[in-house]
Amino acid sequence: MSDAGPPSAAMAAAAPTAPAAPTAPGARTADPSPGTSEARVRVFRGTPGNEPHFDEFDVPVEDGMVVLDALHWIQGHEAPDLAVRWNCKAAKCGSCSAEVNGRPRLTCKTRLSDFEPGEEITVEPMRAFPLIKDLVTDVSWNYEVNKTIEPFTPPADVPQGDWRWQQEDIERVQEYRKCIECFLCQDVCHVLRNHETERPFMGPRFLVRAAGLELHPIDQADRRSYLKDSGGIGYCNITKCCTEVCPEHIKITDNAIIPLKERVADEYYDPLRWAWRKLRGEGSGSGERVELPVLQGEPGAPEQAPD
């Protein structure tokens, strides 16, 4: 399946102005003119503890329509209680992540014209995270992992007025900081998705964040033992699935994870440094290990547990 496919053939004339049909508050779309084609959309419905099912809808298609538009049409016309998380509708906030025909995608930039005419479009929630309802999952685990990363640490002895960095020195860091936290990379990562490890793994998103700190021109903190012992960087076996799904086109594996793996390897697997640590009586880490939270298979954000 291609990422954003080529433009669909002929673009029809402007859509008519909106008639006064009930529309979900999210929907910016006008109703289509009569005679336009329809798309068959299958949507996962369900809540934890209940047998999930798929509802099918025939959604009228208009020019430039994306999967999120189709979901809003369904909310406005057929299923007002359909749970969908979204905000900006411009691929800038990373809220509307889902799996479309099995592929993790932002529904706001997955165009219906990417699919073959007549192809059924199946929309499911991200599978790596516990279900809340329909297409909405509990991604709070990610926010807990983020808290364990040591924040930006500028040098204490250089006044800010003296900070000077060239544009080319920060372009790599700016690439990491493009991340919109859609968590699609977390969703597709087989380590997280299949709960493959006994110990927690921070996942590609937070390796990208750590890289943004580690490679910042003036950051002073050393997160290598954290990455190795708490973050579980070794669990990543660089299959690059994360890079493929990143809507911001961050080269997660090549530009973030591999450089971090090299830093960790230089520190911990270089024989000279290993011998030096032995001599000084140090262990393999800095001693104090931060424990990552465990990604649960069951829903329920910690702060929402009953009193």
Partner: protein
């Protein structure tokens, strides 16, 4: 055993409602001042509208233009706001924004650099000098991520996907808030010593808007209901450049940075129409012709100083939006009812580097390569200058313990906001308001006590639309509201439309009182819409009443029946909205805050 519909209780010294730039900055400041802070947001953390900001944050850092300073920034802000701004706010904003930007850098933000390695600044409409610190065209993301990480490191308790529907009060002031988890529908009660409203804007009152579903005027309505005043509500900014095609993204913002980097506006005949619309009194600030404008763009793209003046497209937003509206109305529009914005005459590589997310946005959503051809754009509802009346120094409202910062607060931008002044507003007044709220909280003795009758009433209001059994869908009423506001209270206004709108809004409020939803409380968008719609009805009435009262045209408020600016009557008066003793909305005016004589001399050349 607790029922899933029993409220949770979470007391805090300071409760911040809204987690965009202003809410995050306020929460950080309050926590640094020693308060125990709760931060509530309707979405996930880091998704607020601040994330959409492309252009930059305005601050007179003087990295690109040594002639810049806070006085010029202050003057630009007042001129842009047509002198209705709270002058003390405009002063504090201009004075403090450079420190707030440097602070972001110290917290890890990575701004684009000048050749000598400092924070780079770009030009924007209405700013005399290149002033906007930026990160390509994703400045808002950089800012919100930096603040988010700082807030997390400060240990602030965040309540994600949680909606506040009511502020509780006592004779002594605000006592907390009541709301619910969007994920489960379970109610939650927040006793608090101080409350900061940082809920952003009202764009959802209109059909065509750059705002997401979140911007339903929650803070405006909560404050109004609790007894605070709203000012300048007639001033709604219609951003000149929203996408017009495809229909699914109609209204989505096209950053002003496109024009800041040299984007040219043309009508269907290929005419560069902005030359016709420059206001005579500011004509000398703009290039004389295409050649001078081109020299300005060339110098900019090479980061060189120039004596060329800026292109006409960098006029203020209100003026550019009206110009586009007129071009379309007079039959010179593009195929999809907008005009053309062209940056493709610059080298493709340069455009992709300076405007990467605009390049992506058009490529992915509209099949348009902006390095090869023009964009089609038109005005879109973007920002409300009006908001809760606050004290400039502390963010305090007239209700003790209630504070407001960011877009939900009024006064800073007067009749029209300059691009880039929003992010700096969030930072400057977010920080001040967080400190103000924490200082107030420290003066409140004993545990905050919420009146149980008020809490029970708020909980009943949550239940009502689920229990009615039959009634209209809230979506239908929402849709009707958006049509009324778009058609009758839009870019151009006239008394008969405004009168009709007030009648229609009253009718919509009656329909709203009977709406019904099913599907339960958990993550139910229909149920959520009920409360947002109620807030939008309040805000829409406030906009309409203020617009009807102001019988002149000024800034973002344009009256067809009163096309002239009337300095004599209106030049020094703000509109004020408050809830009357009879529970009805009252509108009146108050004089613009007196200006310090020193500030007055800064404006002397422009304004009496």
């Amino acid at each position: 055993m607790t029922s899933p519909n029993d409220p949770q209780t979470r007391p805090h010294d300071v409760l911040v409602i809204g987690a965009g730039g202003a809410g995050l900055r306020a929460a950080i400041a309050a926590a640094e001042a020693g308060a125990d802070v709760g931060l509530v947001c309707k979405s996930l953390l880091g998704k607020a509208h601040t994330v959409m900001v492309a252009g930059g944050v305005a601050a007179a850092l003087r990295h690109v233009a040594p002639d810049d300073d806070w006085k010029v920034h202050f003057r630009d802000t007042m001129v842009g706001g047509k002198y209705l701004n709270n002058p003390r706010m405009a002063q504090l904003h201009a004075l403090e924004s450079p420190d707030r930007v440097r602070e972001l850098e110290a917290w890890g933000a990575v701004f684009d650099r000048t050749r000598d390695g400092r924070i780079l600044q770009r030009s924007f409409g209405g700013h005399t000098h290149p002033r906007l610190a930026h990160v390509g065209d994703r400045t808002g993301l950089e800012m919100i991520r930096t603040l988010q990480d700082r807030a997390v490191a400060a240990g602030i308790q965040v309540y994600m996907e949680c909606t506040i529907t009511k502020l509780t009060t006592s004779a002594a002031g605000v006592t907390g808030a009541v709301g619910y988890w969007r994920t489960t529908g379970r109610p939650i009660v927040f006793p608090a010593r101080a409350v900061v409203l940082a809920t952003g804007g009202i764009g959802r009152a209109y059909e065509i808007t750059s705002n997401s579903w979140e911007y339903s005027g929650d803070g405006h309505a909560l404050a109004y209901d609790a007894g605070a005043e709203l000012i300048d509500m007639e001033f709604v900014q219609f951003h000149p450049t929203g996408m017009v095609w495809p229909p699914g993204v109609r209204g989505l913002l096209v950053t002003e940075a496109v024009r800041g980097e040299g984007g040219i506006l043309r009508n269907a005949a290929g005419e560069r129409f902005m030359w016709k619309y420059l206001p005579e009194e500011r004509r000398q600030e703009y290039a004389a012709d295409d050649a001078e404008a081109a020299r300005w763009v060339t110098a900019l793209s090479q980061s060189k100083q120039t004596d060329a003046r800026r292109p006409p497209e960098l006029s203020t937003r209100d003026n550019v939006a009206r110009a586009i509206y007129n071009e379309v109305k007079e039959g010179r529009g593009s195929p999809h009812g907008g005009v053309f914005l062209d940056i493709s005459y610059l080298p493709a590589e340069h455009v992709r580097r300076k405007l990467p997310s605009m390049y992506e946005q058009f490529k992915e959503l509209a099949d348009v390569d902006i390095t090869k051809g023009p964009m089609e754009i038109g005005p879109t509802t973007h920002y409300v200058m009006g908001g809760i009346k606050v004290d400039a120094d502390s963010g305090a409202t007239r209700l003790a313990g209630l504070y407001a910062a960011g877009e939900v607060a009024g006064g800073m931008h007067g009749a029209n906001r300059l691009g880039g002044n929003s992010l700096s507003d969030l930072l400057v007044f977010g920080a001040r308001t967080g400190r103000g709220a924490a200082a107030h909280a420290a003066t409140v003795d004993g545990e905050p006590h919420q009146d149980p009758v008020q809490v029970r009433g708020a909980l009943r209001d949550l239940e009502a639309p689920l229990e009615r059994g039959s009634g209209e869908s809230p979506y239908a009423v929402m849709r009707a509201l958006q049509v009324v506001m778009q058609q009758r209270v839009g870019i151009y206004r006239i008394e008969e439309d405004l009168d009709a709108a007030l009648i229609e809004l009253a009718d919509l409020r009656r329909r709203w009182a009977d709406v019904c939803v099913d599907g339960g409380r958990a993550y139910n968008p229909g149920w959520n819409t009920v409360f947002e719609l109620g807030n939008l009805l309040t805000v829409s009435e406030a906009i309409t009443r203020s617009a009807r009262q102001r019988t002149e045209s000024r800034g973002a408020h344009s009256r067809l029946d009163f096309p002239d600016t009337d300095d004599e009557v209106w030049g020094h008066r703000n509109s004020v909205i408050a809830k009357g003793d009879d529970g009805r909305m009252s509108v009146h005016t108050a004089p613009v805050l007196d200006m310090d004589p020193e500030l007055r001399t800064l404006l002397a050349a422009d304004h009496r």
